[in-house]
Amino acid sequence: MNGSVVKVEEVTKRFAGHTAVERLSLEVPGGGIFGLLGPNGAGKSTTIRMIMNIITPDEGRISVLGGISASRDLSSRIGYLPEERGLYKKMKVVDQLIFFGEAKGIPRRTARIKSGEWLARLGISDWAQKKVEDLSKGMQQKVQFVGALLHEPDLVILDEPFSGLDPVNSQVMKDVVVDLARQGKTVLFSTHIMEQAEKMCDRIVIISRGRKVVDGSLAEVKRDFGGRHVALTFTRHADRAARVLADRSLVAKVDDYGATAEVELASPGDPDRLLHTLVQEQVGLARFEVVEASLQSIFIAKVGIEAATAPAKETVHA
């Protein structure tokens, strides 16, 4: 696929009393994994719901797969995993999946075959004839995941796909998502877990309080942020190191973890001076490495600690 699969232009959405999304523009290119990042209540789910045409923007335009905001007519080509999971509790797993498939417009027979394949792939075939309410939360989430994917959509939109999953299941889902991208599908997913996004995404957009603060490919974002980060691991005299790192002429910012630290230099290209000073102070170093900034630190730097905790009322609609 070429061109953009999802195009959001200058979109604004207001809810009673506050603006959830403000003049947001973003473009999801065809193929690959696109991360929509932001703290809780930043407007990620609102944006995704608007893309899915579940709610309509107050201003701006959204086009999906070339159509103007008509995701319902394109539902056979879009897979959607909503943030708030919903399944019919009394229905059998397989019946539920068949129904979801049919609702997306694929024939009943195909839906049955596909749901069988997917359940096997995710290792929950034994539960196909069980009622949803008998399943654990993790399994329900897998079922929901299958529901979003069994009609083989070109565009997959996942709202917080990994929240509430244990590491094992998280891994299984991640493999599926990566595999989808490998098949040339487009995956758009939202998360506030940066480590995950950093490993998976080709492109990211970070939004905070309804506004876009970062947009670009992961490489671009990191390059723009600058390569002036140093990762340190201390073996002894961490207290002396702390003194050195407190020098604002040398170090702009420290993310201190005690035995390790990630520092941002005051001026780029100055790692030598820092190393020199640390050695002079006889700090025991196990590691001194000039690194790219982690997405986590970019996120914190761009969004700011204060924005990471959203105002209470925003969470209602996010």
């Binding site: 995701s71 319902r72 708030e84 999971r85 919903g86 399944l87 019919y88 049919e102 609702a103």
Partner: protein, 436 residues
């Protein structure tokens, strides 16, 4: 279209599979069966044949005649009918009381033991003063006593008339009453229905619609609230149009209603048609009284009823769907459904009000109020067929009303299903209808 089918099938299959559906579907016919069997069972609790001791202190063969008459009495009709009594006549001359006392210890005991269910004492004063005595365990059974009385009365009366020199047969012929048989004529043809059956039918049709709306309309409403609450509605809304979601649900639930009512009607018809056989199979004599009967429904009326039932159901269920979409909890929904309930009640009671004058002005006017038409027309049609013009006008009016309701309801639905938290106000609703 394929998608609507998927929704209809899901609604139908998932509902029919529930234990609640199974239970209510089975319980009602069981109840019907009980209605057939229990009265019969109660009436002939002494399982038919009773062993009767007759202390005969009459001096002129009256006792023999009575014994013959009692022995001839049968339970029910037909060749297989069991004798009602096995009579043991014990001539007692003037020792009636002594004989009776000697029999008492053997009376009213367990069925398995030797003895009698009851003792009938007849003397000469039975003719002169009209007195006979009965001793038994079943004296509280109104039917048993009436039966016994009716069997011996003609013998006594006959004896008195004989004494007056009057021919019994001629008297019986001359006192024969008249029995007004009502036969319904519709469209110049005999329908084979009686007046009472027609009335019952008109009432029953109104009741079925009323009942279905209360039960299944509420189901539509609550299931939408449930879908909102477990957020499944987001998945549905991203794949289906609000119209598909609503129509699928309403039709699916409507089919469940039809299936259940169909099973019930079938069971009722079966039981009423085979009442005697069922009782016979259970070893219970059919009660001599009124058999349980259901009025037959002609094909014309059946079609009219089904058409208006379907239209009425869709009309009201769409309203219930809108109410469900407006609510966040079933409690909210319970409150918001009041206006819809009012219409249902008015419709149902208009059946009662109009049944006395089904072709009056009021009936004509109410036939063309879309909310009431589904109740009024089948009732009127069952009493006397309507002119085709009137019938089709009524259908057209209801369809128009239905479209209007669905249009409004779909708009409320569209916005309502995705708004959580607060209950929608009247102002919100009007805004939704205008902007959706």
């Amino acid at each position: 279209m394929h998608k609507i089918w998927a929704v209809i099938r899901r609604e139908f299959v998932e509902r029919v599979r529930t234990r609640a559906f199974l239970l209510s579907t089975i319980l009602f016919p069981l109840f019907m069966a009980a209605m057939v069997v229990i009265p019969g069972f109660l009436m002939s609790r002494s399982t038919g044949t009773q062993r009767l001791a007759m202390v005969d202190a009459t001096s002129d063969q009256l006792g023999q005649r009575m014994a013959a008459s009692l022995s001839a009495a049968r339970i029910g009709r037909g060749e297989a009918a069991l004798p009602r009594y096995v009579v043991t006549r014990i001539p007692a001359a003037d020792r009636a009381i002594a004989v009776r006392d000697s029999l008492l210890p053997m009376t009213g005991r367990s069925r398995k033991l030797e003895g009698f269910e009851g003792i009938l004492v007849v003397t000469d004063s039975t003719v002169t003063q009209g007195k006979a005595e009965y001793f038994g365990a079943n004296v509280a059974s109104f039917d048993d006593m009436r039966e016994l009385e009716q069997t011996i009365r003609p013998i006594v009366i006959g004896r008195r008339l004989e004494g007056l020199g009057v021919d019994l047969d001629q008297v019986m012929k001359s006192v024969q009453g008249i029995d007004l048989v009502t036969n319904k004529v519709a469209d110049g043809k005999l329908t084979g229905e009686s007046g009472a059956a027609t009335f019952a039918l008109a009432y029953a049709m109104g009741f079925i619609l009323y009942f279905s709306l209360l039960i299944f309309g509420t189901q539509v409403m609550n299931s939408i609230v449930e879908e909102k609450n477990n957020r499944i509605v987001e998945i549905l809304a991203s794949s289906l149009t609000p119209f598909q979601m609503m129509l699928g649900k309403v039709v699916g639930v409507g089919l469940v209603a039809l299936l259940q009512i169909g099973i019930w009607a079938g069971a009722a018809t079966f039981f009423s048609a085979n009442q005697a056989k069922i009782l016979g199979a259970l070893g219970i004599a059919s009660p001599g009284g009124m058999p349980l009967s259901f009025p037959a429904m002609g094909p014309g009326l059946l079609i009219v009823f089904l058409v208006f039932f379907s239209l009425g159901f869709l009309l009201y269920a769409a309203m219930y769907a809108a109410v469900g979409a407006m609510s966040s909890t079933t409690q909210d929904a319970g409150q918001l459904q009041m206006p819809v309930m009012m219409f249902v009640l008015v419709g149902f009671f208009s059946v009662f009000a109009l049944i006395r004058d089904p072709n009056g002005t009021a009936a004509h006017v109410l036939s063309f109020v879309p909310m009431l038409t589904p109740f009024v027309i089948p009732m009127r049609y069952s009493i006397s067929p309507l002119p085709m013009v009137e019938l089709f006008t009524a259908i057209a009016v209801t369809v128009l009303g239905l479209l209007a309701v669905v249009w409004v309801a779909a708009r409320i639905y569209r916005v309502g299903i995705l708004s959580y938290g607060k209950k929608a106000s009247m102002r919100d609703m009007i805004r939704w209808i205008r902007t959706a």
